[in-house]
Symmetry: C2
Subunit: 110 residues, 2 copies
């Protein structure tokens, strides 16, 4: 008990939920915005922009990386993060599909 029954749901719904989950914390939305604005960021820059400790930011980055929405390149001493354009496009597309699959038809109830 207490664990999500992922098996019981479609792959697509799990995938959408996973993307949503990646964006389900304001810190992670903020991180995405920083990466979008700057196109790329070394980890330290992101830590500086967020009101969270280095270890906490590192964890959020790990989650975002786990979702595929961002990727990180090690270059010497530092790690450079950026949006993964393919995953980003895919998430954008699938979420948009879900949102546009609803059209109001006046109206069975509510």
């Amino acid at each position: 008990m207490g664990a999500t029954k992922s098996d019981e749901f479609s792959v697509r719904d799990n995938r959408i939920a996973a993307w949503a989950k990646a964006m389900a914390h304001p810190a992670r939305v903020a991180i995405l915005r920083v990466l979008i604005q700057r196109q790329a960021c070394i980890c330290g820059d992101i830590v500086d922009e967020l009101p969270l400790s280095q270890s906490t930011v590192s964890q959020h980055l790990k989650e975002l990386k786990g979702s595929g929405l961002i990727k990180g390149d090690i270059s010497g001493n530092t790690v450079c993060y950026c949006i993964d354009e393919f995953a980003w496009e895919q998430a954008k597309k699938e979420l948009h599909e879900l949102f546009t699959s609803y059209t109001v038809m006046r109206n069975k109830c509510c």
Copy 2:
């Protein structure tokens, strides 16, 4: 410790995170799909379509209602749920804005 520092982030990022959080579970994505397909559903119909107990579905519905994405109308014995078109449109718009605010420019790193 252990509680999200919502205050430290922008209202907009919190709002987007809240919508994402509402969609961050495959059961809730599935519920949204059912509501979109049928335009409206009494609670029992949703319970029948999901591989979860009545109380668990009720909890997911409460969360979706909390996010504003859906609303529920009591009509006698039953509760009829449907998409809240205004919140839906707003979420669609703000998420789309976030996704389209990224455009690839070859490329500072990664």
